[in-house]
């Protein structure tokens, strides 16, 4: 029995042959020189310096021409479960009314899963002066601070927005990152705390420590927003997150979270998509945002979904509407912002999203829709409620801390 000589094998398929040829030193010197020349030409072309940071001062900002009058359109990027929706349909009654009233065609998209990933996507485009095909984006305070600092959003004309001027809640009229609200208008505020399914957990969860028990092992999701997750943990470790604290306190919270992931208690660290894990049953409890849990209860028709502020305290934040620097529909955007500051409209939205409503007078309107909701501390919290429950805003980080802490969070918690 003679084995077939190996030479008689069929030749390689052309694809494989190309791979083999390319990888076994088949390059001639000339070809190599050619590639080198092309590469250096390319280097000269594209290795131009990255964009410079803004020099500061309002004079530096050049606004695009506003074509709102001729183009009655508006594109709005927002978070999941953040606008009133008509039953299982994906139509919003308030938005429909706005479109009818003004004739502006609004495209609403739930683009934002997480501040970081959204801004990382659109930031470079905005810096390069390119359109991101959105006229409003909605980002959390600290990210809004970054956008304003980088001069990547347009100044707003408050004079065109009478509802905003008269109905924006007093404490929100002057915020540290945007004095006088020249660039951003609050969309909703909210709390981070513990969200869980009472039936599936089988008991009440009152403090953060209640999450770390064997029966909940591997069934807990936490937010990828470190100001909320680390904030809550820091509070449980006795830190006042709105006052002065440093890297040591932050790191000790991260070590704690890292340990809980290592031990298998925390299953996933996620953006707004954590709601999928709660819906699919992969997780039954976690560090979540207040309104989402009410929407979840409504969507799944399961009243067992519960949101609670842990005994050690919760976080308070706001999301803010801004007009990206390259948008050409600023007037349309301002009309929409003003529309949502009509107390009756705001109450309608709040009744669905269950987030803290930033509109003065909405509570009175809510009485007409649902008197129970008008009493809800998750929508209309009193100053006493916030103080009693130790609800605090995460302190503003300076630029260096911003990078340092995000780096720590990324290496220790997100991508290890």
């Amino acid at each position: 029995m003679t084995p077939i000589p190996r030479r008689s094998r069929r030749p390689l398929s052309p694809e494989a042959a190309a791979v083999v040829a390319a990888s076994s030193g088949g390059l001639s010197r000339r070809a190599l020189l050619g590639t080198g020349a092309a590469a250096s030409a390319g280097l000269a072309l594209s290795a131009c310096a990255p964009p410079k940071p803004p020099t500061g001062g309002p004079a530096a900002v050049k606004l695009p021409t506003d074509v709102s009058d001729s183009e009655k359109i508006l594109k709005w990027a927002n978070w999941t479960a953040y606008l009133d929706m008509n039953g299982k349909e994906t139509k919003s009654p308030t938005l429909d009314a706005f479109m009818q009233q003004t004739g502006i065609q609004v495209t609403y998209s739930e683009d934002v899963d997480d501040n970081d990933s959204y801004y990382a996507k659109v930031g470079p485009q905005l810096r390069a002066g390119q359109s991101i095909d959105r006229d409003i984006f909605t980002l959390t305070d600290w990210m809004a601070a970054r956008v304003i600092r980088d001069q990547l959003c347009q100044p707003l004309e408050l004079i065109q927005m009478p509802n905003v001027v008269s109905n924006l809640l007093q404490p929100l009229k002057d915020v540290s990152f945007d004095p006088g609200r020249q660039h951003s208008i609050t969309w909703q505020s909210g709390f981070a705390g513990i969200g869980y399914n009472k039936a599936k957990v089988g008991r009440e969860l009152k403090s953060l420590d209640d999450l770390w028990t064997d029966d909940l092992k591997g069934r807990i999701v936490v937010l990828s927003e470190f100001r909320d997750t680390a904030g809550l943990v820091m509070q449980s470790q006795g830190v006042d997150i709105d006052s002065d604290w440093g890297r040591a306190e932050f790191e000790s919270a991260l070590d704690f979270i890292e340990q809980k992931i290592e031990e298998g208690y925390i299953r996933k660290v996620k953006g707004n998509s954590y709601m999928e894990d709660l819906t699919s049953g992969n997780a039954v409890a976690g560090i979540t945002w207040s309104g989402d849990i009410f929407v979840l209860a409504y969507d799944t028709e399961d009243p067992n979904w519960t949101f609670t502020i842990p005994e050690s305290g919760g976080t308070l934040w706001s999301d803010n509407m801004m007009v990206p620097i390259t948008s050409t529909h600023r007037s349309n955007a301002q009309k929409l912002m003003d529309y949502y500051y009509d107390p009756a409209v705001a109450a309608q939205v709040a009744a669905w999203v269950n987030y803290v409503c930033p509109v003065d007078g909405a509570q009175a309107e809510m009485e007409k829709i649902d008197p129970d909701l008008a009493e809800s501390p998750f929508i209309f919290p009193s100053a006493d409620y916030i103080a009693e429950n130790n609800i605090q805003a995460f302190r503003v980080l300076d630029a260096d801390e911003d990078i340092e802490f995000a780096d720590l969070w990324s290496t220790k918690v997100m991508g290890n």
Binding site: R10, G42, D150, N282
Partner: protein
Amino acid sequence: MSALAHVAGDPDVTPAAPAPEATKRSWTAYLLLLPGALWLGVFFVLPLVQLAAVSLQSRYPGFPGYYYRDVNFENYAAALTDYAPHFARSFLYAGMATFLAFVVAYPLAYAMAFKAGKWRNLMMICVVAPFFTSFILRTFAWSQILADEGWVAGTLNFLHLLPGGNIINTPLAVIAGLTYNFLPFMVLPIYASLERADPRVIEAGGDLYANGFTTFRTVTLPMSMPGVLAGTLLTFIPAAGDFVNMELLGPQRGKMVGNVINDQFLAVPGGYPVAAALSFTLMAAILVMVFLYVRRFGTEELV
């Protein structure tokens, strides 16, 4: 697939090349190459150069998310020291997925080439059909199917066959996802090379008193090696850089290098240089591995 058979060409035909026409012809060839070369230049070489430039930039002090031009090799040092385990994990998972895909794909390709008969086209469609839906959607569908309260995990838990209690968010789910997603890239090349194999040569093995296994080992398998080589490369290379399967099916701890790159690009203000350095290192590492692999298993085909 019959098209591939034609590509192999007929070695008996010697090209007639009269001297005067030679130069003219070569110019046409270059002209025809131009679109491809341009495409490669604009969409491969330029971005690569840009990536190399970014991988050497430094963070602009005081301005998160801004950079200045620099020759900062520390990015590479950080990429290699901080994320060595992630590289190892990527290559391990990709290697396991490639092996599993091979184990599943070979019998499938063999059956398609030699045994399928009138079912061949249907089998081919079944292999290719998943491509009609987006990669992300299919992976996302798996995350729903394998969810804790889905029927798969539910049944296994009911039978006490699932020690950890869940399938999803485990390394196993990631490797299974990678295997599933890249399986067609393994099946098709192996099928192509088996389909071209001359059945008479395999019969000859039997005529020479070799048993089925020996014939397979000494005749069929060697004939299909070019397809196996192409298939393993087409599976391993994208699997090593993949981050979707880990993101949607994987655990929180023990990420792959693709996830780190994604995270550095998207979540860390000022993470671009390290992300670019990681991408470059991954590319270089894969290139070296492929080079060694092809050297070991493929060079005989050249001469």
